[in-house]
């Protein structure tokens, strides 16, 4: 099984010299396993992934998981070239939403005012599938579970299991210590819901081989922007410790963060990780990792 980062930047794509080394495309992560093509989030990174998939082999069946419909997680979809192939099938999974269904939001993104080709006119077969929270589904040979996270609107993380390997995608997410940012759920107090959302991070990451975590902020930045809906490395390490997860990937990098700053934060993070018993890595665009039960190694 292989993991490739096609987009690692949060909020908006950063085509500036300060973000060249780690990459400026918005979130898109590919998990490739024998005969299956699974992609998490459709940020701008999905454009080049689509080109690679079409050039590489006869892949015609794709599973796309969408964490939530903020621009940075869906804006690449209109440029995903496989969607323009008549013999391609794309299954788009996301957590159940009461209003503003994902299909409506994808369609709104391709309204003629904003984009030349409406979603409905794309030649491929696109299916939108809603996942019930906490109810695992099988897709592309993975067992996938989704749980809501503390982030404005309705957002969720994913837990993927296959061949004894577990990967958790916990992004976008706020720390959930004192502030509820997610749309409340009827029938439960805000406080109880906030605690549930905190626990959801641990459930997703429970015993995971690796956790891809929203480390957008430093603690100082977080203090000034608590309502933005993002976390810090420190929060991620705490979740990994509580969940006994082994590896953490710093992800969804702040658009202002320069490569040099990120490199320094990463060095500090590795040391902090050691004291938590967690190995810390940093998501870097274009990098591929080999995932096998019991560990991960970078591919050349």
């Amino acid at each position: 099984m292989e993991l490739t980062f096609w987009g690692v930047r949060g909020s908006f794509p950063v085509a500036r010299p300060h973000a060249r080394r780690f990459g400026g495309n918005t979130p898109c992560v590919q998990v490739a396993a024998e005969g299956s093509h699974l992609v998490i989030d459709a940020g701008t990174g999905i454009r080049r992934l689509g080109q690679r998939l079409l050039s590489q082999d006869e892949a015609r069946d794709f599973t796309l998981l969408i964490s939530h419909p903020h621009w940075d997680h869906i804006q690449g979809f209109p440029y995903f070239e496989p969607a323009y192939q008549p013999d391609v099938e794309i299954s788009i999974f996301s957590i159940q939403r009461q209003e503003d269904k994902l299909e409506t939001l994808f369609s709104g993104q391709q309204h003629v005012a904003f984009f030349p080709t409406p979603l409905e006119q794309l030649p491929s077969r696109i299916r939108f599938l809603e996942m019930e929270e906490g109810q695992p589904v099988e897709a592309s040979g993975f067992r996938i579970c989704t749980l809501r996270l503390n982030h404005p609107g309705v957002a969720s993380g994913f837990r993927l299991e296959r061949d004894g390997f577990t990967l958790a995608y916990v992004c976008d997410v706020a720390p959930s210590r004192d502030l509820l940012l997610a749309d409340p759920r009827p029938g439960i107090s805000q406080d109880a819901f906030r605690r549930e959302l905190f626990e959801n991070q641990i459930r997703l990451a429970e015993g995971a081989d690796l956790v891809i975590y929203d480390t957008f902020f430093t603690p100082r930045e977080y203090a000034e922007r608590r309502h933005w809906g993002h976390s810090t490395l420190e929060d991620g390490l705490e979740i990994c410790r509580l969940a006994a997860a082994e590896n953490l990937f710093m992800f969804h990098h702040n658009p202002e963060r320069s490569d040099d700053e990120l490199a320094v934060l990463f060095e500090e993070a590795r040391k902090m990780g050691e004291s938590h018993g967690v190995e810390v890595h940093v998501a870097c665009e274009g990098q591929t990792w080999n995932l096998e039960k019991g560990g991960l190694t970078p591919c050349e």
């Binding site: 908006f12 990459g23 080109q51 939001l105 709104g108 904003f114």
Partner: protein, 281 residues
């Protein structure tokens, strides 16, 4: 004049496009005592206005005019991430034409619908951030202080029309024609294009496609470098900047395209627009 974003369709923060730049359209026109004008609000607008924050915009004293070619994502996606939009006291006037039911304002409001973009809504809320005004262009000629602006609709194949601009200040003229597709691929057939570009000191023009790509990209709403240069030839422009580069076009391909485009110029000086490039007019 400074190019802050020259890429078409989608930002490309990728190595093969690093030299010419991957930010979507934004061109800044400024002068010592004239108005500040931004042509389009693509991703380049985010970085351009971040730089303005060091000056008057940071103190809430900036007055900016934003002219939109149309409301496709690549022309507006920098607006919600622009720091100057969140500073009270700044004034931003957005000029453009309706492309959504309900007009320009409704179109831009859709972009900051909380389902997509949970930012404090400076469009809707009086007490949040900059004061934003909308100028739905009806009369093709209007004045911004001493600057005379002409805006005409340009064809885009079978798609919605787009706005082109001619900006004249103290005898110098910049023409901005992007996201345009001419009938039969001939700019000579479009009087609006000729009128906007006539005698311009600088023509900034869509050059997304290569002539050999045009056949299969009919009705995508874009031009080739050949058509850009042809309009400059016909309209007697002094210089033409090839603009709105295809997201897949690499730096080396743009180098080659510049040479090919120069070969068909009859008079105008031709160059490829590059992010960060400034010109004194």
């Amino acid at each position: 004049m400074t190019f802050w974003g020259v890429r078409g369709s989608i930002p490309t923060p990728d190595e093969p496009q690093a030299r010419y730049g991957g930010n979507t359209p934004c061109v800044l026109l400024s002068s010592a005592d004239g108005p500040l004008i931004s042509l389009d609000g693509g991703m380049g607008f985010r970085w351009m206005t971040a730089e303005l924050m060091a000056g008057k915009a940071g103190r809430g004293q900036e007055n900016l005019h934003l002219m939109l070619a149309h409301c496709h994502w690549d022309h507006i996606q920098g607006i919600p991430f622009s720091p100057m939009m969140y500073v009270a006291g700044n004034r931003v006037t957005i000029h453009g034409r309706q492309s959504f039911e309900g007009g320009l304002r409704e179109t831009l409001l859709h972009q900051v619908n909380p389902s997509y973009c949970p930012v404090p809504n400076f469009f809707l809320l009086q007490d949040v951030g900059a004061t934003v005004e909308f100028h739905e262009i009806k009369d093709p000629v209007f004045q911004i202080d001493r600057v005379r602006v002409t805006s005409l609709e340009l064809p885009r194949g079978n798609r919605l029309a787009c706005s082109g601009y001619r900006i004249e200040d103290r005898g110098k003229t910049v023409a901005y024609l992007t996201d345009v597709e001419y009938p039969q691929g001939d700019p000579g057939t479009t009087p609006a294009a000729l009128e906007l570009a006539r005698g311009a000191d600088l023509l900034i023009h869509d050059a997304q496609f290569l002539p050999e790509e045009v056949q299969e990209r009919m009705n995508w709403g874009h031009s080739t470098y050949r058509q850009a240069v042809e309009l400059a030839n016909l309209a007697g422009c002094r210089r033409v900047a090839l603009f709105h580069h295809d997201p897949g076009r690499t730096d080396e391909e743009l180098d080659a395209l510049e040479l090919q485009a120069r070969a068909v110029a009859r008079g105008p000086e031709v160059f490829v627009a590059r992010e960060g490039l400034s010109l004194e007019l």
